[in-house]
């Protein structure tokens, strides 16, 4: 088994985004997907703070702090791009107008439940942002994460133990070991064994009865 890097997870996910899709990339690791979108496809990136048709980071010295992404980093606007206020931006999510959102996760259950906003630790400063809106509203929720925690526990689980972000909302999980698809009835299908782990090892790592 050869685990792939975070950049390779982003690259693998980017291959599955079709031309014409409207996509929201969450802050952190999912932002890297933008680096691997094929140049020959037109894909519309939406950002929660009120931009559709977001372009790459500006050249050094060209930064405009009135033009930022969800992570508050400077970005650019593509030709044909538009700006709108926050309620309109979340209409796009909550009204089901986004094709795909890409988020990170602490845990995903085989039922598609997502936990990604809080570890529930006492004393932690909570923050939720747009995660629950995206989970509830996007047509497809794609998760990017490493399959295991640092201590070796699977983050793809029977039931989430961390506080939930949304119920039955995840459709695909892109990890350093494999790409999983969540299907009705708690079925988890391996669609791409990107590490070459093999069926037995994938079942052992997740503790789930996977379908291949």
């Amino acid at each position: 088994m050869k685990r792939i890097s975070r950049e390779q997870i982003a690259e693998r996910l980017a291959q599955d985004i079709p031309e014409g899709a409207t996509v929201n990339l969450g802050i952190g690791l999912p932002t890297q997907v933008a680096n691997y979108l094929p140049a020959d496809k037109e894909i519309f990136l939406q950002s929660e703070n009120g931009v559709l048709g977001m372009g790459p980071a500006p050249a050094p010295g060209e930064e405009d702090y009135d033009l930022v992404n969800a992570g508050k980093q400077p970005v650019t606007l593509l030709k044909g791009g538009s700006f709108f206020h926050h309620a309109d931006s979340f209409n796009m999510m909550r009204g089901g107008h986004l094709d795909i959102c890409v988020l990170g996760a602490f845990q995903v259950s085989r039922w598609g439940d997502l936990a990604n906003w809080s570890t529930g630790e006492p004393g932690a400063i909570p923050a939720v942002g747009g995660a629950m809106d995206l989970a509830a509203g996007a047509k497809d929720v794609y998760i990017m994460m490493e399959l295991q925690t640092k201590s070796g526990e699977s983050k793809l689980v029977e039931q989430c133990t961390y506080p939930l972000t949304g119920l039955k909302c995840v459709s695909r999980i892109y990890t350093d070991v494999a790409v999983f698809q969540i299907e009705p009835g708690g079925v988890v299908r391996v669609v791409d064994d990107v590490s070459g782990a093999g069926q037995d090892e994938l079942k052992r790592l997740t503790g789930l009865d996977l379908v291949f």
């Binding site: 931009v51 405009d64 700006f83 926050h86 309620a87 931006s89 939720v128 942002g129 949304g166």
Partner: protein, 223 residues
């Protein structure tokens, strides 16, 4: 002749009372009415409930308002930031109350407040601890949670240009909460980079129509 333009920040904030609910525009620094926030500290109103996407970072803006002890409660979606130590300290010490709201629900509650809507049902947060204790209704086979509107005494927002009637246009993603917050307060105060003659703003491009705006103050750009 109607003119909503006031001469300075002090006049812009005259009459803000203790115990007010104040909407604060901005997404991080973009669209934050930074100078109005600083002036609010000097104005002296306290025991405030503030509504804002973030809870400030560093030591200026919202963080300064918090540090000055003016805020009783914050209704917010994403208080935790890399440099949100002022909020973090007050929250851990139990000196500021937090109502955590999903970002789209925050925006829609403000929109509802401004639109005279008595609340709404949304699928966001169903099944999570942020829906705990709230009414759940099954609509067409799916569960929705009831959320109430947010109305405020004051909104402090930033726009790019205004005319003397208070028509507004914004700059890029600095628009964010401005247009909805302008609708949901009894008194909307706007700081702008530029004031233009009546008729100069393209009517097809005006984002906030004048009736939502009560006071406009020009602040030197990039202070």
């Amino acid at each position: 002749m109607i003119s909503k333009i006031v001469n300075d920040l002090e006049a812009a904030l005259a009459g803000v009372k203790d115990g007010s609910t104040v909407l604060l525009g901005g997404f991080g620094g973009a669209g934050q009415a930074h100078e109005l926030l600083q002036a609010l500290i000097d104005q002296g109103a306290r025991d405030l409930t503030i509504v804002s996407n973030n809870a400030g970072s560093g030591t200026t803006g919202i963080a300064a308002l918090l540090a000055a002890g003016k805020v009783r409660k914050i209704i917010c979606s994403f208080p935790r930031q890399a440099d949100s130590h002022v909020f973090d300290g007050l929250y851990r010490a139990g000196k500021v109350e937090l109502e955590l709201v999903p970002q789209g629900t925050l925006a829609e509650r403000i929109r509802a407040g401004g639109a005279g809507i008595g609340g709404f049902f949304t699928r966001t947060a169903v099944g999570t601890e942020l829906a705990a204790g709230k009414e759940i209704r099954n609509i067409d086979g799916e569960d929705y949670v009831f959320e109430s509107p947010i109305k405020a005494d004051v909104a402090l927002i930033k726009a790019h240009k205004a005319d003397r009637w208070g028509n507004l246009v914004y700059n890029k993603t600095a628009r964010n909460f401005g247009p909805i917050m302008a609708t949901a307060a009894k008194m909307t105060v706007v700081q702008v980079d530029e004031i233009v003659e009546l008729g100069e703003l393209d009517p097809e491009a005006i984002v906030t129509p004048s009736l939502y705006v009560h006071r406009v103050v020009r602040v030197n750009k990039k202070v």
